[in-house]
Amino acid sequence: MLDRALKGSSRYWGWLIFLLILMGIGFVLWLYQFKVGLKITGMSRDVSWGFYIAQFTYLVGVAASGVMVVLPYYLHDYKAFGRMTVLGEFMAIAAVLMCLLFIMVDLGRLPRLVNVIMYPHPKSILFWDMIVLNGYLLLNILVGWNALAAERKGIHYRTWVKVLAYISIPWAFSIHTVTAFLYAGLPGRHFWLTAIMAPRFLASAFCSGPAILLLICFIIRKLTKFDPGKEQMRTLGSIIAYAFILNIFFFLMELFTSFYSQIPAHMDSLIYLFRGLDGYGRLAPWMWTFVFFSIVALILLIVPYTRRKEDTLVVAAACVVIATWIDKGLGLIIGGFVPNPFERVFEYWPTVPEVLISVGVWATGFFVLTVLFKIAVSIKEEVAA
């Protein structure tokens, strides 16, 4: 099936070459970072995790969201999603790969990575995150690949594939729950110390991932003969609507607990994010952008007319992606470190090399995604023809 990736239009190859260039730039800068250390990033003694870990967190959500097309198909026998499950699974593969790469570029001593396996410490959530992420990657490769191979041959997938698909459903929830636990169990990081961190992560995952998938489906329909289906996209729209409303609801709950209790440590990070603290407020414009896009997305998703109409649904999906990315890919991680344990504000902002390395990782993910989707779409076109 891999050979489908080797035959494509000039647009396909142009896109891959463009991604390869971004990957190359990122890789060269990463080599530089590997040589001189993480001092080339904006991270500091006070904000010791930054853009890399924030992207990692966001992408774990995208990976987990694959379950939103897998679950209705396998569990509720929602046949219409049969066309899309493999897209969800392949998106999960690309997202988990990016997650692993973001962890790797963030490590101070990458060659020692295998110490996590050589000296396993199950008390560390990072140990479990490694297990669930790699397990999820494997599950999606096995299920996605074999289901697609069966489709190509015009036969029903084997029973063991279905068993693995069932396993992958709770597994998807586990990857984002465990990722939330990375943050939600740390004493002294009040912004993260919240029991609804995992539910919040899942809600934001289940709207942002399907929103990305929806946007990709529109592109696929434009560029190929394969149609993911009107009904399918409409169902995705409903999933995005419910999950995004839930996501915003959870966020408002955080605001209530912090500002009604009036406990300074619980308010400080939020004040820093939205208004600035002690004269520092670099993230405030971003957070208000998040608010703006959230409101637009909410309106477009709640009003039945705009949710069902395809062009407004696309706008809503784009708004959801922007809003959730700012919330999780910027605010959540940086906000957790500001103010620092001495209640001082030390600001963080990613440097150019840091952003370009991140772009390189994203490009790698999109490269894998493009190749996998190319294979899937080619086979679906062949089967349809």
Partner: protein, 264 residues
């Protein structure tokens, strides 16, 4: 032809993956040697009581100098990448939860020496994925700089900001700020990309010597830093704590810090 090309791509992909994994396994055969060579000392729960009635900013400065000199901690003169094992901080920042508008002038004027609290329930050790930071039987929270992968989970886990990361190569710290670096050939220098912090001078304890900061401080002002075993009711630390009122940093978090500050 289709089959063979497909087969080829599978094999090529797998071999690339194996090569990548094999390469990274290289550096892993050596770590873990360090802690095995350190003999455990007799103490059961090392702790420090710092007498704030005696400590001056000069004492803290001297402690910092001797500690950083002894442990080859480089100076960068840049808060973004700085590494510190012991340093001074105002009451407001050392005890943000106990700060208020009308705190006494005396307390306000003080500088508190801060260092790793060697918590009895250390969150840093809980979150470390490799056991590169761990608690010894005598309570010291130790670091294995040969095992640390530089994930910085411990820095997120520490509520006291006691941990520093080598953002750059400490051996390449600016020469003009670090004359004669490494200042102590007996003590290892670190490499880029690992976390470090105060070790309660475990190697000095093993030789029956006091931590270097305690020695330095007490040379200037006798009994300003009191170091001893909390599990021994007759230890100097226990005696001092029995007699005076002391506070600890962020006790509500349940980490049970072992640095006590005598304030009255």
């Amino acid at each position: 032809m289709g089959i063979s090309r497909r087969g080829f791509l599978k094999v090529a992909g797998l071999s690339a993956l194996m090569a990548a994994l094999g390469k990274s396994g290289f550096e892993l055969l050596r770590p873990g040697q360090v802690e095995a060579s350190i003999p455990l000392t007799k103490g059961k729960r090392w702790a420090m009581a710092i007498d704030m009635r005696k400590v001056t900013p000069e004492i803290i400065e001297e402690c910092k100098k001797s500690c950083h000199h002894y442990h080859n901690v480089p100076e960068f003169d840049n808060p973004k990448v700085e590494i510190k094992w012991i340093w001074g901080e105002e009451f407001e920042h050392a005890f943000p939860d106990q700060q208020h508008e009308y705190v006494s002038d005396l307390i306000k004027s003080l500088e508190f020496p801060l260092l790793c609290n060697h918590c009895s329930n250390p969150p840093c050790c809980r979150v470390c994925p490799t056991g590169a930071t761990w608690q010894r039987e005598d309570g010291i929270v130790m670091m294995d700089w040969h095992r640390c992968i530089g994930c910085r989970f411990c820095m997120a886990g520490c509520p006291y900001g006691s941990r520093s990361f080598n953002w750059g190569d400490p051996r390449k710290a600016p020469k003009e700020l670090n004359p004669g670096f490494p200042t102590n050939p007996e003590f290892p220098t670190r490499e880029v990309g690992v976390v470090e912090k105060c070790t309660f001078c475990n190697e000095r304890l093993a030789k029956g010597q006091l931590p270097i900061c305690v020695e330095t401080a007490n040379k200037i002002e006798k009994d300003s830093f009191i170091f001893g075993d909390l599990s021994d009711p007759d230890s100097n630390v226990r005696k001092a704590l029995r007699k005076h009122y002391s506070i600890r940093r962020k006790t509500e978090l349940g980490t049970h810090p072992n640095i006590y500050y005598i304030v009255a």
